[in-house]
């Protein structure tokens, strides 16, 4: 080859810069799901146009038939719980766990009685109606570096971008604050105020409502696929050195917001800590976009109670024969609510999936059990699934 063509080849702007997909497994899931949905849509369009060209009667019949047809929904094959992270911040209690979460002195504490068996019965008030609920595949921010810079600009932090020694996490740090984006597991952003002046001057008390508004505005600025719900508020006396390395103690106001997607609470949280003067000290939350929603048929609450019994049997049989089979404790499930839990599928994709929380009483104490609410025709390995949650970055 002549020098001319060698120079042409060498001028390739992409030479030595191979394109790589950031997350091949999620990409494949996204592409195949998009296509399945589009092909359903195309079939629908063809059906309607064919009907228009026929008689009015046929057209009406076709539309009616299409309206009654079941949508094409992917079967969610859940990853086993061992591959997912333990949920420490989740407000949705361990989704498929049959260990009750009892309310003791206003806090939630899981029971440790692992060999307890329950027999669940439904109160008459529980509905038998089958409904439909949306599940959402989540999309990660595509470019960690760009994403970190974007988050930093929302929090007003400008400084040096660097990759942390821990691997995938990126951080922008300035003398007064740092912002971190950690794309491992469930993607998480976090902000830490490192300025000493933030906690030293306790001169005024800013109303909690104003702090909540500030937090909400910051999260809106991030433009992720979620909103914040009503926060729980706690005041903490921090003595000694706090995040600011301040020598004296200070008071901080902690707001914990449930993460809400399309009006439904998820098991995820976004936490904000302010000084009494209104300075933001710490914040963290999940970082994801919601690609689309899939309307899945759900179990009725009544069928869900039966599902709890069936799942208990399934898990017990998987655990092997037990020498002592205690008499099951009778529990009447009096209430059910629905939320979204975050689950990892076997292909690595993350989904928000409807989860029932059933409430009953054990020894006069309120307790709750959770169960995936999807119709079992659309799930695989549901008994092994466990929700994951966003944990605060410790950077």
């Amino acid at each position: 080859m002549s020098d001319v063509f060698e120079r042409l080849t060498a001028a390739d702007p992409y030479a030595g810069n191979t394109f790589e997909l950031p997350d091949v497994a999620s990409f494949i899931t996204r592409v195949s799901i998009t296509s399945r949905r589009s092909s359903t849509w195309r079939r629908f369009q063809l059906g309607v146009s064919g009907a228009i060209s026929a008689t009015t009667l046929i057209m009406v019949g076709s539309i009616a038939a299409l309206q009654g047809a079941a949508p094409s929904l992917p079967v969610l094959n859940f990853a086993a719980a061992s591959t997912t992270r333990v949920n420490v911040y989740s407000s949705v209690k361990a989704s498929t766990s049959l260990l009750p979460t009892t309310n003791v002195h206003g806090t939630t504490a899981p029971s440790t009685a692992t060999n307890t068996q329950y027999h669940f019965m439904a109160a008459q008030s529980l509905s038998n109606a089958n409904t439909v609920g949306p599940a959402y595949p989540l999309r990660a921010p595509r470019h960690p570096k760009t994403e970190t810079m974007r988050i930093a600009s929302v929090f007003g932090v400008s400084g040096v971008l660097r990759q942390l020694a821990s691997g995938a996490a990126w951080q922008v740090s300035s003398p007064g604050a740092k912002v971190t984006f950690a794309p491992q597991g469930l993607w998480t952003w976090s902000y830490v105020n490192t300025s000493t002046s933030a906690t030293d001057s306790v001169v005024e008390t800013v109303p909690v409502r104003a702090l909540a508004l500030k937090a909400t505005q910051l999260v809106s600025g991030l433009r992720y696929g979620y909103q914040l719900g009503t926060p729980t508020v706690a005041k903490r006396n921090v003595t000694g050195s706090g995040p600011s390395n301040s020598a004296q103690g200070f008071v901080s106001i902690h707001l914990s917001f449930p993460v809400v997607v399309s009006g439904t609470t998820t098991g995820l949280v976004s936490d904000f800590t302010f000084s009494t003067s209104g300075a933001l000290l710490r914040a963290h939350g999940p970082a994801f976009f919601v690609a689309s929603s899939y309307p899945y048929p759900l179990l009725s609450p009544l069928a869900g109670v039966a599902g709890l019994n069936a799942q208990q049997s399934e898990l017990r049989s998987g655990a092997g024969p037990s020498a002592n089979s205690p008499t099951p404790i009778e529990v009447t499930i009096s209430n059910s609510s629905i939320a979204l839990g975050t689950y990892r599928l076997s292909d690595g994709a993350l989904w928000l999936v409807p989860v029932y929380t059933f409430t009953g009483k054990v020894n006069a104490k309120s307790a709750s059990w959770s169960l995936l609410a999807l119709d079992s025709r659309y799930t695989k390995n549901a008994a092994l699934a466990s929700p994951i949650a966003n944990q605060a970055n410790r950077y």
Binding site: R7, D12, N17, F19, L21, F27, S35
Partner: protein
């Protein structure tokens, strides 16, 4: 047991996404860099939809043909948007033209003197590594025609290159 359609597609994505991404990346201008991932995704969405049509043994040139059409559509949409947006509000941040400049000024000048068709076939060969048969698949022409067009484009490029003052 034969691999399932999902497994085959998985293999195809892992194999073809680097060359397809690079192909699109080289020709992205005037689109912004952030649009690259979307174009790759759109390309593979079409490939998945038409998976039964993918020719065995010629997957890459076929995929590049799809990517070529996706890129053309995106550029047309960009041009339309650019035209109408320019009328109603000031222009926002756009992809920098500097990003698209080739470092070798002689190569750049010689390429600029070629027609769009000649430049396309020449670069598919030089940068994307397609031979005459592959070019035929990508450009939907016969292998003979591809060979003739490539040869002609190479001759023109060589001529323009020699006419350009050395820098």
């Amino acid at each position: 047991m034969a691999p399932s359609r999902d497994d085959q597609f998985d293999r195809l994505v892992r194999e073809l996404s680097p060359p397809v991404g690079s192909y699109l990346g080289r020709r992205l201008y005037p689109l912004a860099r952030v649009e690259l991932d979307d174009l790759v995704e759109e390309t593979f969405t079409i490939i998945w939809r038409r998976f039964d049509d993918v020719p065995s043994g010629a997957e890459l040139p076929w995929a590049l043909g799809v990517a070529r059409n996706v890129l053309r559509n995106a550029k047309r949409a960009h041009a339309r948007r650019h035209h109408y947006e320019g009328k109603v509000r000031p222009r926002g941040a756009e992809a920098s033209a500097e990003e698209n400049v080739l470092a070798d000024a002689n190569v750049r000048d010689a390429l600029n003197k070629l027609s769009d068709d000649d430049r396309e076939i020449l670069l598919l060969h030089a940068w994307d590594g397609l031979n005459a048969n592959d070019l035929a698949r990508t450009l939907l022409i016969s292998p003979n025609a591809a060979a003739v067009r490539l040869s002609r484009a190479q001759a023109k490029f060589k001529q323009h290159f020699s006419e350009t003052p050395m820098s």
